[in-house]
Symmetry: C2
Subunit: 333 residues, 2 copies
Amino acid sequence: MTLLLAIDGGGTGTRCIAVDPGGRTRGDGRAGPSNHLHVPLVTATEALRMATSEALSKAGATIQDVALVSAGLAGVDFDGTGADTAAGMLRSIGFGRVVVHGDMVIAHRGALAGDPGVVALAGTGSAVLGITRGGATIKAGGWGPLYDDQGSAYQLGRLGLVAAAEAFDGSGPATALVERLTAALGASNLPDTVARLYGTASGQQRVAALAPVVTACADEGDDVAAAICGRAGAALARAVLAVIRRLHALEAREGRAAGGAREAPACLASYQGAVLERSGLVRAAFLETVRAGEPQVEVRPPRFAPIVGAVLLGMCDAKWDLRLESLETASGV
Amino acid sequence: MTLLLAIDGGGTGTRCIAVDPGGRTRGDGRAGPSNHLHVPLVTATEALRMATSEALSKAGATIQDVALVSAGLAGVDFDGTGADTAAGMLRSIGFGRVVVHGDMVIAHRGALAGDPGVVALAGTGSAVLGITRGGATIKAGGWGPLYDDQGSAYQLGRLGLVAAAEAFDGSGPATALVERLTAALGASNLPDTVARLYGTASGQQRVAALAPVVTACADEGDDVAAAICGRAGAALARAVLAVIRRLHALEAREGRAAGGAREAPACLASYQGAVLERSGLVRAAFLETVRAGEPQVEVRPPRFAPIVGAVLLGMCDAKWDLRLESLETASGV
């Protein structure tokens, strides 16, 4: 059997699917985080080993059946910084042919299936990637938690904690977040949550894991939580608008360089990640702010998940010729 | 010689002064952070050992001359949580009689010299402490960096980083902070600052150390930095107003319990710490917001530094009778 292994490795979890040359998914696997900047190299390598071996085992295949590994990993930047380290982890597992992209790159390829445009990725962290018609790339965000990854699950969780602390102190409006975050952290009262978040190596993940509590509170009508969701969506949109402006400038230059007529600055935008996909309030604020800033931009829902973006990029490298339609099934894994 | 050792130990540094029964400062010492929640116990203990031995050495005294150690430490809460651990550190150095308070408690005692009222403390972290006429205490803030210590040096530094990242990406207004924070972190460009802040155990301190860069930019007319300072001062004021409201409610109850006539709810407020003391913009926003919320509150500049608060609390314990005026000199150390 000849297989392509596609990997989507993030700050919270790692996913792998084994795809045959016909585009059928033959097996899948999951494991913990594989961002080598945030967890030790051995931990990240072990996550990659577990996810890939589970996918191969379910496919009834072995490592010898793998024609190519195509990975998109957090901890690898859009320009390839960090890719060597990540490729080294995969080679140490025993894979021969390995292509590594940043998580933003596979998210972009999945969401727009190869079309130029801008994609906002909001998972544990967040970032925005734009690709011009000529293939040039522009990034915004992705600075990590200390710089506030706008619209990320981490930011949502953190702003939820801030709002709960202010409500508890009486210096901010009352909110259901006090009770809900206390319960989510298994504490008996809000001050007891402090000890549960500090001193743990995975503080960022524990905070990011609170994002669904905040979006649920917002959906249930809590005004404070709803304001946090609106702020997150608008901030992501501002990053998208900034990338679109730089994209237009680059494409105008590319058009002049090619000597062609300057095309109208139309642009596609899309998004990926749990925050924008699962919270209608975050998405609504995102769409509204993008449209208010650049009315001619077409915002599409993501066509494929990031892991299918890794499949598409791998197929190019492996020179497998495949119609996108045959991958629709893989997206559902 | 009989001496009282007063200690002010925070997230960034530790200070000790040796005071004689006449209120004269005979020696002082400094060392690194002694917050045992943020640095290992051995590190915190070593900082306490260094600061105290330097103060004793300058006073020409030994550990046998110390009648009492009165310490105010970050990592000890206003209600005494954590005091046992801190006292254990001091006893392991060889001190027999030890009294430990939270850093907020000595800050309050120093700023208002024993009067009831509310004191905002904004150093590496921040917190607000109110003390009623009857001696009851009310705290707001002090949740730590993950919950955004409003108005703290950490928050100022972090908001500076966020604003610089947004300006760099083009998703926020231009600001001098991009260049200034890059230089302050010894990096060649803003993306290079990322590696300098993550993966270091002292991330909180390194971010807090950027606060003077932000306040300096604001003083030089940078609108983005000025907005950050204004936001910090207003947030600290909201915490003060919340404590004042709870103080009034408690004092009304205390008044009824004592059967006395209910006094008019006047209140004193003050502040401590580098952020509020050194930045006129933070202080102006703080004062304006406090006065807008509670016009009858009298906001006083701090009378003594926190370490003098530790002296005053120690003198009570040691039953040393001393007039406040004789301590004015100690405040200047």
